[in-house]
């Protein structure tokens, strides 16, 4: 299982650059970023290679930050690369609440981040289909 970084921000200009700057200055590479908008405020979801360090650095800057467990499945970065995983998830009947992909090596490796009630079962379903569930991006 992997850790996604969640950041609480008010819905005002400058929040994205504030977070990007804090992580950039600490030498932390952002792989993917998503925003859940709740009107007056929102939550950034950030995928990085160093989630624990990202959390520490943001927390030191007085930002409300948390780590959330997700399943991260390695897939091939080519047309059809997602099919095997998608079929495995469909067949499993497990509830998937959110998902997104991220390229690690263009033309070669990508990861697919999956969230749901039963992450362990999601990882097991992926493994049964011959895929790898990652615990680290080091």
């Amino acid at each position: 299982m992997y850790n996604e970084v969640s950041v609480f921000v008010e819905n005002k200009p400058g929040k994205l650059s504030k977070v990007a700057e804090i992580l950039g200055n600490a030498g932390i590479d952002i792989l993917a970023l998503d925003l859940a908008d709740e009107g007056q405020y929102g939550v950034f979801r950030i995928l990085t290679a160093e989630p624990e360090r990202a959390k520490d650095v943001l927390s030191d800057a007085n930002v409300a930050v948390a780590l959330n467990k997700v399943a991260m499945i390695e897939i091939a970065d080519q047309p059809g690369g997602l099919v095997k995983l998608a079929k495995a998830l469909d067949a499993s009947g497990l509830n998937v609440s959110d998902a997104y992909g991220c390229i690690i090596e263009r033309g070669k490796r990508a990861v697919f981040v999956v969230k749901g009630d039963r992450l362990d079962a999601i990882e097991a379903a992926a493994r049964d289909a011959g895929l790898t569930a990652l615990d680290s991006l080091a």
Partner: protein, 435 residues
């Protein structure tokens, strides 16, 4: 009840200064002896070493102990009651400084006296039984509703118990039933006028003659503006639930200071720090002792309202002295939409939530003449677990709990940790931008 004079206690209204002083001495003694029948006051008087039977004149009031809002909270619910509960016919609660409200009890005589005082107020402002009265004040526990209602009925006006809100309906009622007098908060009266003007309607066309304004402080400028836009005469009203409610002090036809009914209330103005009487004409905290209440008399109650007496005789000739507009509070209580709110009530709600930090700010503004309250809180950095669902629920839960506590809807804004100004020393919890 025979005629108007009896209904408004005419003999009290006509008392000279000497007669008032004489009456107050006897009434104070009676009131203190009645109060001594309650567990609270019998203990307090003993603690203070004072025998209420020894009260010989109004000046002896200084022998008696003060009563505070905190005392009402400590004696809640019936510590200050002097009669058995089966003799009671009404009770009202009002906001306490914390979650505990205060309770005021009335027997039939108390209710009749309150109605007499209220009818008296309306009468000196020129209202008669020929008037039609719309009460746009909240009913329920809020004393502005039933207080005005009973007084207006006693005077013989036809009363429309409209309550607040639903502006279109208010306007229709005024027109359909040829209403001549209204009771509302000054901000609500302004709100209705602005709405009418926005819709191309003319508030003057309502034909209102008199407005009784209270429950919140407001300026002379706003009174003049309201009179101008509606074409009515607006009279200031002062009251507090501890002293029944409305009916404590009211303007006469000269609209220059509110006559306080000194047959019913012994009034002192004290320095809020030293509790000594202030000099003549100086501003002080209003301290009141009930002289005509039986079920639950209050002795030297600290209202926390600051004001002064107006000099000299009123042209109307009545000897009951006039109070100036309230100039402020000697505590941190706020009045929002006519409702008393203590910052500590809000703090109590905020502190229940571990996701919310201890720093908060109450931001008061006006929108379309009505008070708006926004409570800004900070997310507690260490508690955030990434859940959007929890955040969403947190905000709506806070708003719901605040509404339960203070009685109206305040908007809650959840902000990032450290975004509110940190306080050095005493925290500034309120920013009031209302004019």
């Amino acid at each position: 009840m025979s005629d108007l004079d009896e209904r408004i206690g005419g003999r009290f209204v006509r008392m000279s200064r000497d007669e008032i002083n004489q009456w107050q001495g006897e009434a104070l003694r009676r009131s203190a002896m009645q109060a001594a029948k309650s567990p609270w006051y019998s203990a307090k008087f003993a603690e203070h070493g004072v025998d209420p039977a020894s009260i010989a004149s109004a000046k002896d009031v200084t022998k008696l102990p003060f009563t505070t809002k905190e005392d009402l909270r400590l004696s809640y619910p019936t510590g200050m009651l002097t009669v058995s509960t089966d003799q009671l016919v009404r009770m009202h609660t009002s906001s306490g400084t914390t979650g505990t409200p205060t309770a005021i009890f009335h027997n039939q005589d108390d209710i009749d006296c309150w109605a007499e005082l209220m009818a008296r107020c309306l009468s000196i402002a020129g209202a008669t039984s020929k008037d039609v009265f719309q009460n746009m004040s909240g009913y329920g526990m809020f004393t502005g509703g039933l207080g005005l209602h009973y007084g207006a009925e006693r005077l013989g006006m036809m009363v429309l118990p409209a309550g607040p809100g639903n502006t279109a309906r208010q306007i229709k009622l005024i027109r359909d039933f040829h209403v001549t007098c209204i009771h509302a908060t000054p901000s609500y009266a302004m709100h209705v006028a602005e709405r009418m003007l926005q819709e191309g309607d003319d508030p003057r066309s309502l034909g209102l003659k008199r407005a009784f304004l209270g429950a919140e402080p407001y300026t002379e400028e706003l009174r003049l503006k309201l009179q101008d836009v509606y074409g009515f005469k607006a009279y200031n009203s002062y009251g507090l639930s501890e002293m029944n409610g409305p009916g404590v002090a009211f303007e006469c036809e000269h609209q220059n200071g509110m006559h306080v009914w000194e047959d019913a209330y012994l009034v002192e103005l004290v320095n809020p720090e030293t509790l000594e009487p202030v000099e003549e004409g100086e501003v002080g905290e209003l301290v009141m002792t009930t002289l005509r209440r039986t079920a639950m008399p209050l002795i030297r109650y600290r209202t926390r309202d600051l004001t002064r007496f107006l000099d000299g005789e009123c042209p109307c000739g009545r000897a009951h002295r006039r109070l100036a507009r309230m100039v402020g509070r000697s505590d941190d209580m706020l009045i929002v939409r006519g409702v008393n709110v203590f910052p500590s009530q809000i703090e109590e709600v905020i502190m229940r939530h571990k996701w919310i930090g201890g720093n908060y700010l109450i931001h008061l503004t006006k929108a379309e003449a009505l008070d708006q309250m926004t409570v800004k809180v900070e997310l507690a950095k260490g508690e955030f677990d990434g859940s959007v669902e929890t955040l969403r629920n947190l905000r709506s839960e806070l708003q719901r709990q605040l509404k339960e506590q203070i009685g109206f809807t305040a908007v809650v804004e959840v902000m990032e940790p450290g975004s509110l100004p940190a306080s050095e020393g005493k925290a500034k919890r309120v920013i009031d931008e209302r004019q």
